[in-house]
Symmetry: C3
Subunit: 265 residues, 3 copies
């Protein structure tokens, strides 16, 4: 038996050896573990972004998957480490908001504080609990250890929530912002399709970013006019501003946090 | 049985979560799949580069390997998605030229249009068919599904070919260009060793790039003079311009597309 | 049986296809191999850095792990390729110093020259021995081949050592340098905790970098004052200069090689 797959999400990047070390620790405990990288490109300390990435993508992983999320600016302080059982999966990481979107999504989720030091590496550093505590716990769970061995069940309400800015909704529209920019220069907003549907999702919506007024297209990149910024609903059901075969971030000279306004009438 | 390995080649880069999501989808269908990254560093929308990378490297993968190539600027348009059976392997991706070098290499290759929607994810986005269509198909094939379930066999001649510029061959030499630059700053040309051999591959060949005249060395990096640009045949049998322990792209101030001329007499 | 895991450490980066090709070669010989990336972010040709990364991290991998280290500026010259059996693991790579820290750590380590050409790929390039020689050898060992098949046992003393600068220790302190900078901008020195302990490791130590005088904190990042450079012992037991929730390299405008002085009295 290989056990449930272990999925890694961190802000480590891939130029250092930190991700490889997590995998070594896991294999040392479960030599047959299946380990998958979801993303190591979370911006440093960006707990809100990690929360988004987990919430938008957990559904593409097998039921029972064990996520390890190491975006952990408070490492070595008294912040808790938790294991969430929710959305049919497990999530191990610091109690700093990285799982707050998961807890919103599954109201029946349970949270355990990870206190079982029998599971930890022998020497615990003050700066790398992903290696010393979280990876070993993931390996134990993948071997079939019970969630009851993790530590005490704690109140979901006591968990830290992220401070991601939600979009501001008024009668005439929505004011949001750019929350991520991908490799293609696509500008991903914090505005979900659901909000647009509440307003009657329409190609007449006008989307403003900087001095540009864009239309909402309902097709794909391929159907857009060349080299012109346009707005679409992306594959994660978020409003996104893109340029066909071009880099919207570079063309519009826009960074994270730039305001986006949707006029719905 | 783990089935044939699935090999991923995309222009996604590794800073976003897109590659991880492909793997999650595959594991959700075949929990025992072996998944390998060939490259996620194809420049955005560079179908010609993807075609090169696949053609130069498929031979290093096991027979029966299932390649998924997501370099797909036309996603969501009426462009076809195909499965190629050729070179003893399978190749799944858009019909936009990414497999044209494979089809050149194996004249007996067969191409199937991927139309079996039973294999797709339930919700198909307009912008991420790698996730919704190609990854699930790869997982099915890795579980042993027959290529006949993919969809109709289509004519190889009907497939889109890439527009990679071939080198221009005249009586006195070859005019090519830089088609890729690797992490070391090595400048990889579009001139294959075979063409040079036709001219009698000789250390007397003079290679010109910008105002530099270089010699063709037949050894390795280690045998070159320090800090001087030189030309060699690289490990993929392509003419390459490099600097021992240095970065040729930086030293020569050269980018993709720069002209390279080989004077053979 | 999947055999021992194969761990890859290279200076290839992840934008090219070189790492993927190593994995293809391994799977072609051992279809059930477990392959893990330790790091592909070793700076080009930085054998000393590779030696550090291997020495600091091998202990997090299972006993019997087979490391392949391709940082190989002398590829194609007469430099030897070796297999080290030491620290309960195997290490395959060029004899250019990448294993010198391992050989220091385990005085009983054995070194074999890799000469068994039956193990190599059929065609050996002059520029990619990682693919043609080292990866196939790793695959053979992972299948259970005996180390005696590798080639002749050679003298450890004959092996090349790296030229990493050790810190200079005097009566009043230590003069070292920045040997690596990670994704977070943390400045990792070449000064090990052990040396500081010899001096009586104390918060009264003064650490100077450029014009800054820093204190040695014994806690974690989370306990540091915000936005101020500070010195800590990191998770690899090295002196490190960091900025809580900030990028020390950017704030201090420091690169690799910058001098760091520890005044111990």
């Amino acid at each position: 038996m290989k056990g449930s797959p272990i999925i890694l999400t961190t802000d480590f990047g891939l130029s250092d050896e930190y991700v490889g070390v997590l995998k070594g620790v896991i294999l040392s405990i479960n030599p047959h573990a299946t380990i998958i990288d979801l993303s190591h490109g979370i911006p440093p300390q960006a707990t809100g972004r990690a929360a988004e990435v987990l919430c938008k993508n957990y559904r593409y992983f097998p039921a029972g998957s064990i996520h390890v999320c190491v975006v952990d600016p408070g490492v070595g302080t008294e912040r808790r480490i938790v294991v969430v059982r929710g959305c049919n999966q497990f999530f191990i990481g610091p109690d700093n908001g990285v799982f707050s979107r998961i807890l919103e999504t599954d109201q029946a989720a349970e949270v355990y504080e990870l206190t079982n030091s029998d599971w930890f590496l022998e020497d615990i550093s003050t700066t790398f609990h992903g290696r010393d505590i979280m990876a070993p716990a993931a390996a134990r769970l993948s071997l079939g250890a019970s969630i009851n061995e993790v530590g005490p069940l704690i109140s979901t309400d006591s968990c830290v929530t992220t401070t991601t800015t939600p979009p501001l909704v008024s009668e005439t529209g929505i004011r949001g912002e750019i929350s991520a920019i991908d490799r293609f220069g696509n500008l991903i907003t914090n505005i979900e399709e659901g909000i647009l549907i509440d307003f009657g999702l329409s190609p007449r919506f006008a989307i403003r970013i900087k001095s540009q007024l864009l239309q909402l297209h309902q097709g794909s990149y391929g159907h857009l006019p060349d080299n012109q910024p346009a707005a679409i609903i992306n594959s994660s059901s978020m409003l996104e501003i893109c340029v066909k075969n071009g880099n919207a971030a570079a063309i519009l000279e826009v960074g994270i946090g730039e305001r986006v306004v949707v006029k719905t009438k």
